[in-house]
Symmetry: none
Amino acid sequence: LTGAPISKMSSHAPSLLRTAEIIAVGSEMLGATRLDTNSLFIADRLAAIGIQLVAKSVVGDQRSRLTELCRGALSRADLVILTGGLGPTDDDLTREAVAEVLGRRLIEDPAIVARIEQRFARRGLPMPSINRRQAQVLEGARSLENPNGTAPGQVAEHGSQVIVLLPGPPRELQPMLDALCQQTLAPRAGGARIYRASLFVTGRSESHVDETVQPIYSTWRGRTPPIETTILAAPGQIELHLSLRGTDAAEAETTLGAAREQLVAVLGDDVFSTDGASMEEVVGRLLHARGFMLAAAESCTGGLLLSRLTDVPGSSAYVAGGAVTYSNELKTELAGVPAESIATHGAVSEPVAVALAEGIRERTQAHVGVGITGIAGPGGGSPEKPVGTVAIAVATPLAAARVRTFVFAGGRAQIKLFATQAALDMVRRALA
Amino acid sequence: LTGAPISKMSSHAPSLLRTAEIIAVGSEMLGATRLDTNSLFIADRLAAIGIQLVAKSVVGDQRSRLTELCRGALSRADLVILTGGLGPTDDDLTREAVAEVLGRRLIEDPAIVARIEQRFARRGLPMPSINRRQAQVLEGARSLENPNGTAPGQVAEHGSQVIVLLPGPPRELQPMLDALCQQTLAPRAGGARIYRASLFVTGRSESHVDETVQPIYSTWRGRTPPIETTILAAPGQIELHLSLRGTDAAEAETTLGAAREQLVAVLGDDVFSTDGASMEEVVGRLLHARGFMLAAAESCTGGLLLSRLTDVPGSSAYVAGGAVTYSNELKTELAGVPAESIATHGAVSEPVAVALAEGIRERTQAHVGVGITGIAGPGGGSPEKPVGTVAIAVATPLAAARVRTFVFAGGRAQIKLFATQAALDMVRRALA
């Protein structure tokens, strides 16, 4: 039975494919510079047909480790996808390793040899003899055509499981996987897919968010199908990711929408995004909706606030620009901060932050002005104003200027990022 | 023996640590968007002390799969490093999974509880009770201090093997791993280490650099030990990385230094860094050496140039600040660009770039002025000035202002980055 051609699978009424593992083969992905990015594409395509990726591994071109990882994956997942190691050279070992694990022979397919020969002939070249190895197919497996390269893929049944071999180069792997998902994997995945929702939260710690949402999560545990939840601390924000396996798109969206509303109800306006939009996109939409232009005078963030806002396409509709006022002289020259105010309160102070926000707003004729002044470190801190102290002010036509002083932890890059996130969040709350 | 404190390891004369596996824990890294980048840092640091990474895996927050992968890794590698899953919440399972695999208990360490409580107290908060979980330490393991977060790491001996638990956030993991490598892992790795050198090149394509250096690389192939070479296209720069395994530091440094000089001889002043320094650090050093202050007027880069320069500690000594002149009005108001010049030549033009550079230099009294104006896209392009067109000018006291027009390929973020890299490189060449 294990040797039966894959095309007969449906007549065996096999069990559903629900879980998958990926093994990427290649020593180059174990160094300090290169990651296995194929797994992102594969995870996306599998999720779309309701197959959940449960683990993934990278292994070098070393046969014993590869066979062990392959055995492990087959002990856990319904579907095992190997990528890479299908080239013509001696260190391309995936075919041999899988043959060993499945206890099958490799058989040369003359049709594949002919296709590879034609490929070389089109470039006026004879096929190097080492490329014959690429025509070796697992007994009972089906080969998958590769329009973009010499290495065909392979798909084999192993009891109720499926094992797939794909070439490593993305432009060869991607069309092959798309065809395989449509023709072979989707019909075996039961018609369900994974639906997702996310909420991004700011101004709370991960444990604070978790404590708040735990009682809600726990009421979801009993439902069928379950809503899977993940909480994640990203730079400047806490992310809640929900996912649900289902066959009815409308029903899944309704369920996730209701779940999202439950979370928003307890987290309130600390939730700044419910559609995956970044903070700079959310603020951009609010500015755009009101027809407001924004300007900023940045000291310790050095231009990062305006750079983030202008990362969003179309931001010229609501970003006027502003000033980077690293020196005290420029705070006065470009943003009109009174020199006395700096002398009296210090450059890092709430009055100076307000003067920066109001000064740049006036100078640029923008509706919204933001002022940021702080100590990004590592030098410049004092007992009263330690490294990480940042005063942020936001001036709008809607109310009196708001100002807050934060003390951020971390290195220079983190303090800059956290300060811009806090400033954007203050703009968001002022405009909401 | 397995329960003995790690500090006694050397007295057991254990076998050398030669191979390592990494297991990254977290469902968020199994989706379609996020990769495990910690493994790159870990691979780099292990290579530096002569330990080879032989496989790495990512597994979700699912205990049975995690324990299986952990058992598998322990069956193959001398050193197993787990990252992530040390948070305070229910789905942080790494401690429990490793305890199960090693057959040890978890014991709450009151000193760690106190440290976490202090961390919260500094922010004026009580410790949430769930954070107590982070004080659970494997029987016989040593905990590793985490100055940047609440989760301590752990290191435990298991026969002749070592197992390490590190927190997932890079800024927590990195200093912890560096300390662990130096104090605990390097002494057990046999004394050989990997010596490295790098050159960063700008203004040439990867294949152009590769063609130029291939003849030199090939003369190195025969030598013992070999110089390993990698060429890498990073955003805005091509990097050449050389490495050499050896036990004699002086000899290795001499060999690598000579190799580096051979490469610089053929690549000339397109090499901007031979010590790993970033472009913004290199430019900062040149400004500092001449006692110059820099100011910039940025349009399409939206503040990114000044933000990059001010990412470097101590940059207030040579960065005055500047203006983000997204609108035409602000180009005139903040950088003194004549409105006629914009009307005649268009906002994206060499005369306007020069006027931005000279205007901001005059306005801020800085020595060096940079002007950037361009079309970051996706909208705003035309047949004569397509998306990616950027005019950059640099004015210094040393010579007449220089100006160039580039056409960069890529999305909005790439075009912004490439434009700042080109501008910094023009400053570098003007000051060199």
